[in-house]
């Protein structure tokens, strides 16, 4: 297990706080929710590389993740954890970002294998993204080539502990420093890079807007962004409209 490598950012890093509310009842409620969140984790294993081979043993009878409340899930909408298991090529990264953005928060990213940490044996490759946390906030890295199921479970348990304590909120970081992550993405994918999810609008909608959500990169994005607004239901009766 390695420390999360923080890359230099343009803005201030928000300190990680366990948000406590003053109302004791609300506090209990928050505790309950956080506990439930820590005890029920649905993972989406994005099997990009060899690390995936270690996941079935950790899920099945020998190690049985389900006793921790961890289950595999299929679509990003349902999942809490994005497991990136192995080297990430540029093409794959696009999909990983798309998938990450489609997940519902709170969401956690776990990088498995050395390749996600620093490129591992592919560090010389022109086609591989080296550091996953340049492109999205990573909660836990589980290093190793490949990490054994014990290591995977240990990593998951640490994540669970973080969640229970309310420390695992790096997903908020993505909204608050979206410009930073987008900058990295744009450098890799080119200026016209765009995902279907409107992160900025989401940040506004959920009150996650931070000082670094917008910046030069988002300005670039807005130049060639195709519309992403939802198709709102419209009761557009011509006669009534005309009268109005």
């Amino acid at each position: 297990m390695t420390e999360l490598i923080k890359t230099p950012r343009t803005g201030e890093t928000l300190p990680v706080k366990a948000g406590k509310r003053t109302n004791p009842l609300a506090n209990v409620f928050d505790e309950l929710v956080r506990f439930a969140q820590s005890r029920s984790l649905f993972m989406l294993h994005y099997c990009t590389g060899c690390g995936a081979i270690e996941l079935p043993p950790s899920m099945t009878s020998r190690f049985d993740m389900e006793r921790l409340g961890i289950q595999p899930m299929v679509s990003p909408r349902q999942a809490d954890i994005l497991l990136v298991t192995g080297y990430v090529s540029v093409k794959t990264l696009k999909r990983i970002i798309l998938t990450y953005e489609q997940m519902g928060s709170p969401k956690y990213v776990i990088g498995i294998c050395s390749c996600t940490v620093n490129g591992g044996m592919y560090w010389q490759s022109y086609a591989t993204a080296k550091k996953l946390n340049d492109y999205m906030p990573v909660d836990i890295y589980i290093a190793g080539c490949m990490p054994r199921p014990e290591a995977v479970i240990a990593g998951l348990r640490e994540l669970m502990e973080n969640i229970r304590q309310g420390k695992a909120d790096s997903w908020k970081d993505y909204y608050r420093h979206y410009d930073h992550y987008l900058g990295h993405q744009q450098r890799l994918f080119g200026e016209t890079w765009q995902t279907p999810t409107d992160v900025i609008a989401e940040a506004r909608h959920y009150g996650l807007f931070g000082p670094d959500t917008l910046g030069t990169h988002t300005a670039l994005l807005e130049q060639h962004q195709r519309p992403l607004e939802a198709l709102e239901m419209k009761v557009d009766i011509p006669e009534l409209m005309a009268r109005r």
């Binding site: 439930a36 005890r39 009878s61 006793r67 519902g104 959920y206």
Partner: protein, 293 residues
């Protein structure tokens, strides 16, 4: 009136326990430990506690409301020990059709997700419904005909009149078997879970469901398991003389398909239809033939 609140509540709690039982049975059959006691509850709380969720529009949301609400309404039509709810006003046929409302709601909600995986899932689920509802209605017909009533209260009274000998399963063993078979398909458990098919259509109807949407479906699943078990108990096992026997019967009934489920891979859609139209339907018809002649 208080019954009408208690019945769905009881159904939900029993349903939660059934979900746990299902997962535990699965785990034990695979030599795992399985989830902890309150895992179903944690899942539901977690899902409702999601902070960002994607909705695809009003119908997507209303679909979930209908899915939950339909079952909340439907379970009040099934008498519990000491509680008749609306069983007098509805009756068996109304119950069967009430239980289609959640499916319809879900289908609408999934439809608006604009995801073809979901639509394919619904298409398969509806096809499966077409398959299992036929033995189901044969069973329903047989029971209603045998007891001369479509009122569940009267059906239960008739069954409880003479102990085990007058239970539906003793009087109509063939129909009881067909009903069990149909229930397996109705619950969408293996080998009849093609419409979920996680690996190929990404859990079908659930593909775009996250957060409270999925949470709603988890709640619906609790009700669904309960409804299936309770319906079977009411039709064939004499309903509940008291809460204890009722719970034993209901759990026992649901445990059967659960245990079978984890032993099978799955059938393709057309094979589901072929199988269900062939065996349980034929056995059910045979059962009715015995009843009538």
């Amino acid at each position: 009136m208080i019954e009408l609140i208690l019945m769905p509540l009881a159904a939900f709690v029993i349903g939660l326990a059934m979900v746990l039982m299902m997962r535990r049975i699965g785990a034990r059959l695979q030599r795992r430990v399985g989830p902890p006691l309150l895992q179903p509850l944690w899942d539901i709380i977690k899902l409702h506690g999601k902070e960002t969720q994607t909705s695809h529009g009003l119908i997507h949301e209303l679909g979930i409301v209908m899915a939950i609400g339909g079952f909340v309404a439907a379970v009040t039509l099934m008498p519990l020990p000491g509680m008749n709810g609306l069983a007098e006003q509805g009756g068996l046929i109304a119950l069967v059709y009430m239980m289609m409302i959640p499916s319809l709601g879900l289908a609408l909600g999934v439809g608006q997700c604009a995801n073809p995986n979901g639509s394919i899932g619904i298409s398969r689920a509806l096809t499966a419904m077409l398959a299992y509802d036929i033995p189901m209605v044969i069973v329903v017909f047989g029971v209603a005909f045998f007891y001369g009533s479509t009122s569940l209260v009267q059906i239960i009274d008739a069954q409880q009149a003479g102990g085990f000998a007058t239970w539906g399963i003793a009087e109509m063993p063939l129909l009881a078997f067909a009903g069990l078979f149909a229930m397996q398909a109705m619950l969408g458990k293996q080998p009849f879970e093609i419409y979920v098919a996680p690996a190929e259509i990404a859990t079908g109807p659930m593909v775009e469901m996250g957060g409270k949407f999925l949470g709603g479906l988890f709640i619906m699943q609790c009700f669904q398991l309960y409804a299936a078990g309770a319906l079977y108990t009411l039709l064939f096992l004499g309903g509940g003389e008291n809460w204890l026997t009722f719970l034993i019967k209901v759990f026992a009934v649901v445990a059967i398909p659960m245990s079978i489920a984890f032993l099978f891979p799955r059938y393709r859609t057309e094979d589901v239809v072929r199988l269900v139209w062939k065996w349980p339907a034929m056995i059910g018809l045979l059962g009715i033939a015995f009843l009538m002649y």
